[in-house]
């Protein structure tokens, strides 16, 4: 059952990922990306991390993709005349990188998974004890990103 879910999710993930980079229309690519993100959330459930799956769907799929579709509408998804840029070297490069990564995967020692990722409470406790400083720094980063994005995208720029 677990193995079947793994293969099913892998097939969905790879097909959707392929669609993201090959879709002619960027709107289709965005929806393929949402399929990728949902399939990854499925993986997180399978890997016994339900909190991450929830965050992935709420924040990523919900928030980011809405933003991207909005930007596409404003900036224009004009794909005419915008085909692929040197697809053969790019494909070669990605095949080489995949071969290198796959080669290093064979050296990994398998362990029997011990579990223990399920608890959202433990994640929260860890966030606010050991990782308190990075957590607060992250809020500063997000604030900076929001101000930066507003400053960049606003219409009446002071010259």
């Amino acid at each position: 059952m677990r193995d079947f879910a793994f293969f099913f999710l892998s097939a969905c993930l790879l097909a959707a990922a392929f669609a993201v980079v090959t879709a002619r229309s960027l709107f289709r690519a965005v929806f393929a990306l949402s399929a990728v993100l949902v399939a990854t959330a499925g993986f997180y459930l399978l890997l016994s991390a339900p909190l991450l799956a929830a965050v992935q769907i709420l924040l990523y799929t919900g928030g980011v993709l809405t933003l991207v579709v909005f930007a596409l509408v404003v900036a224009g998804a004009n794909t005419e005349g915008a085909r692929w840029r040197r697809p053969v070297p790019a494909a070669l490069m990605s095949v080489v990188v995949f071969a290198a990564l796959a080669g290093s995967v064979t050296k990994i020692s398998e362990t029997v998974p011990s579990g223990g990722l399920e608890s959202g409470k433990d994640v929260g406790l860890l966030l606010f004890s050991d990782y308190l400083v990075p957590f607060e720094l992250l809020s500063v980063l997000l604030l900076g990103a929001v101000f930066g994005a507003l400053l960049l995208a606003r219409k009446d720029r002071p010259e």
Partner: protein, 99 residues
């Protein structure tokens, strides 16, 4: 479902994303491909966390997701700025900085 298989899937998604980054010409298409690569890395981290039973991996991925959100917000703002100032979001049209 073993760690090796999970990492192979993550590596494949990463490589597909790399192809997109190199071959797409629309700036938003490149951003989408970067998201794909980010997603593959997150999947690899969670696979290791699952395999070794390390909760810190989950925290790391939470941080990673938040940073990605910040990155995509600034990236899309840059794309909107380019579409207004340069009237184009095709990356080949935005290359006047090259020597």
């Amino acid at each position: 479902m073993t760690l090796g298989n999970l990492l192979l899937v993550a590596a494949a998604v990463f490589a597909i994303g790399l192809y997109g980054v190199l071959a797409r010409r629309h700036a938003i298409g490149v951003l989408l491909s970067i998201e794909l690569m980010f997603n593959a890395v997150n999947l690899a981290i969670v696979s290791f966390a699952w395999s070794r039973g390390l909760l810190a991996g989950v925290v790391l991925v939470l941080f990673g997701i938040a940073i990605t959100v910040a990155e995509i917000a600034v990236g899309l703002a840059l794309v909107l700025l380019a579409s207004r100032v340069k009237k184009s979001v095709i990356l080949d049209d935005l290359s006047e900085l090259k020597g």
